[in-house]
């Protein structure tokens, strides 16, 4: 292992040595290219997904055009498909769920990020993360056996007697229905709103809140006047994420919404959503047009969630970068 020995080891045939070197350099190039190909495959898979949804719904788009989205008759027997009830049901359940989930989720996120002692906050956030990991079919299970009876025997009669003057809370309730689906969705998206909003709030630089506190603001004032506005776009992003999730949520909704393709006014009535109709009818869809109509529903669901997710990621990125740029 002296320097002369290593000099001897370095000497032998320059040709072989050069080939060896080329192989080494090639190793880097190969690794780069292989990983690059796999990285590109993600873009390819996503493009292929869009392509498949597009080409497999051509017949449906040709047959119905925009009327697909404005008519309400869904009749597989006569090959007539109008998707308005599904679109309507999807939007209404998600919006009602968001109305309930946003105050709850953002409130909890503020508590966890700003007000709770760090140790308790860590523990509670851990539980929230666990909640976010609960499979949707489990929510559906609880929905059927707990939320449905609760709505039928307690909530619906109560709403009818107190708010029955509004058209939204009229008519008989079977337990399954739009309100039940919204409640289950609320349970499911609250953990997402909390988890993402908390992270965004925690990315707000410490000096922002210290500045407010040093001016004599209470904890709540510094939070609501300084920290939350600073993180506003990130919180909006978390709401978009939750909305995308609510729109695309399938199992839990399918299990409790009642699966009735009607345009309803009362939240106590049954409804239907895009994801639910795909889940229920896809494997039984006979005939090209029927299947393609369902795939067109999938295409629209994809596009809407794609746009919402895209916006949400940009908003969250913007908040984090603004916070990061200051450090």
């Amino acid at each position: 292992m002296s320097s002369s020995a290593s000099a001897a080891a370095r000497a032998p045939s320059p040709g072989a040595a050069r080939a060896f070197l080329r192989r080494l350099a090639l190793g880097d190039a190969i690794t780069h290219i292989v990983t690059l190909i796999f990285a590109a495959s993600i873009i390819i898979i996503t493009s292929l997904l869009v392509y498949q949804l597009w080409v497999n719904s051509v017949a449906s788009r040709k047959a119905f055009g925009w009327h697909f989205w404005t008519t309400t008759v869904w009749d597989p027997v006569f090959d007539h498909f109008g998707a308005l009830p599904f679109l309507y049901g999807t939007v209404i359940t998600s919006v009602v769920a968001l109305l309930l989930a946003v105050p709850l989720g953002v409130g909890a996120a503020i508590f966890l990020a700003e007000l709770a002692p760090p140790r308790i906050s860590e523990m509670l956030a851990f539980m929230i993360d666990l909640l976010a990991a609960v499979p949707s079919v489990i929510y559906g299970l609880l929905g059927i056996f707990v939320v449905v009876p609760f709505v039928r025997t307690e909530l619906a009669p109560f709403l009818e007697t107190t708010l029955g003057f509004l058209p939204f809370f009229r008519g008989p309730s079977y337990g399954v229905g739009v309100l039940t689906a919204s409640l289950v969705l609320t349970m499911m998206i609250v953990p997402f709103i909390i988890s993402v909003s908390r992270e965004v709030l925690m990315a707000v630089p410490r000096d922002q809140r210290e500045a407010a506190l040093a001016l004599g603001a209470t904890r709540w004032e510094s939070t609501i006047r300084v920290v939350v506005p600073y993180a506003r776009s990130g919180i909006t992003g978390s709401i978009f994420l939750a909305m995308a999730r609510a729109l695309g949520e399938t199992m839990a909704v399918t299990m409790v919404i009642g699966n009735d393709p009607k345009v309803f006014t009362s939240l106590l009535a049954p409804g239907y959503t895009i994801a639910a109709v795909i889940a229920n009818e896809f494997s039984e869809a006979t005939g090209t047009l029927y299947l393609q109509a369902l795939i067109e529903l999938g295409l629209v669901l994809f596009l809407v969630t794609f746009i919402l997710n895209g916006l949400a990621r940009l908003l969250i990125l913007a908040t984090e970068q603004r916070a990061g740029a200051r450090v």
Binding site: L24, A25, G27, T31, H32, F38, A39, S41, I42, I43, I45, T46, L48, L49, L53, N56, P103, L104, G105, G107, A108, I110, A116, L124, F126, M127, I128, L130, L131, A133, V134, P135, S136, V137, I138, G140, L141, I144, F145, M187, I194, T218, R219, W220, L241, A244, T250, M255, A275, I278, F282, S283, L294, I295, G298, L301, F306, N309, G310, R313
Partner: protein, 282 residues
């Protein structure tokens, strides 16, 4: 002044308690779910549940052995697709990624992660079920595999980035080429994290139902090989919960408990391992 101060202080306390109540409400759902499943499903999770096939309608007893094995097979397939693609892409993003293309890949992965699982199911139907002309384990595994990719990508990248740069430098300065440095130093240093990321991804798709109902479909019996329809726990829960028999409901609760226990155990252990690891290296 003092009146105003008192007003501000009481607002402070009221809002503090309100946000605290929100948190409590959100967290209590977890205990509610857990308690309810243990209460209803606990008594039916027994030896038979794990080793027997579902009983025919009208007979009580039986188990979900085929669904458990089915879920395991589907997860194995998902891993075979998701892990190589996810980990290699993660390596690309952390070690080679150019700015623009890296951003594009990362962004696409995030968007793919947000695609509703039912749409992933349609995708798997279009590219696997239609060419094969029948529902199959392969189709279900493909759908779940696609879903694990983005999760694995992001966690792999994150853990590779957490490997301190001076370790890469040390390897390079010893005459390691870049790929050898990645293989022998960077990946081993991040391996625990990458592994937990993969486990979390599996736990996430283990509970997915929507992409399976028209790919893997379901099967009341044992499914041999990879070309037949196959049962899985989430789909069994779905079918049994909507069924009309009390026996089925009992089984659905039991299956729900088993599934939830699996998902939560993986989540708890991996997260504990991760947080401990982070606290050590800091």
């Amino acid at each position: 002044m003092s009146l105003r101060m008192a007003w501000r202080k009481s607002i402070n306390i009221v809002m503090l308690s309100l946000t605290g109540a929100c948190t409590l409400l959100a967290v209590s759902v977890l205990f509610f779910i857990l308690g309810y499943l243990v209460w209803h499903g606990g008594k039916d999770v027994n030896w038979n549940f794990f080793v027997k096939l579902p009983a025919p309608v009208g007979e009580s007893g039986g188990g979900m052995a085929n669904a458990i094995v089915g879920s395991a097979k589907l997860l194995l397939l998902a891993m075979l697709l998701g892990v190589p693609v996810g980990v290699l892409t993660g390596i690309y993003l952390a070690e080679f990624g150019g700015r623009t293309f890296g951003f594009l890949v990362r962004y696409t992965a995030d968007l793919l992660n947000g695609v509703p699982s039912i749409v992933i199911g349609i995708f798997a139907y279009a590219v696997v079920v239609i060419p094969m002309h029948h529902f199959s384990t392969l189709a279900g595994g493909f759908a779940l595999g696609v879903m694990t990719i983005p999760i694995t990508v992001r966690s792999t990248e994150e853990f590779l980035r957490a490997v301190p740069n001076h370790l890469r430098e040390a390897a390079l300065a010893l005459g390691a080429s870049k790929w050898k440095a990645i293989l022998t130093v960077v990946l081993p240093a991040a391996s625990a994290g990458i592994l937990t990321g993969i486990m979390l991804a599996l736990a996430r798709v283990a509970g997915e139902t929507a992409p399976l109902i028209f790919t893997a479909f379901g099967n009341p019996f044992w499914s041999s090989g990879w070309n037949e329809p196959i049962a899985s726990l989430p789909v069994m829960i779905y079918n049994y919960a909507l069924g009309a028999y009390a026996d089925w409901h009992e089984q659905a609760w039991a299956a729900g408990l088993v599934l939830l226990a699996f998902v939560l155990l993986v989540n708890i252990t991996t997260r504990l391992i991760l947080s401990r690891k982070i606290s050590v290296s800091r």
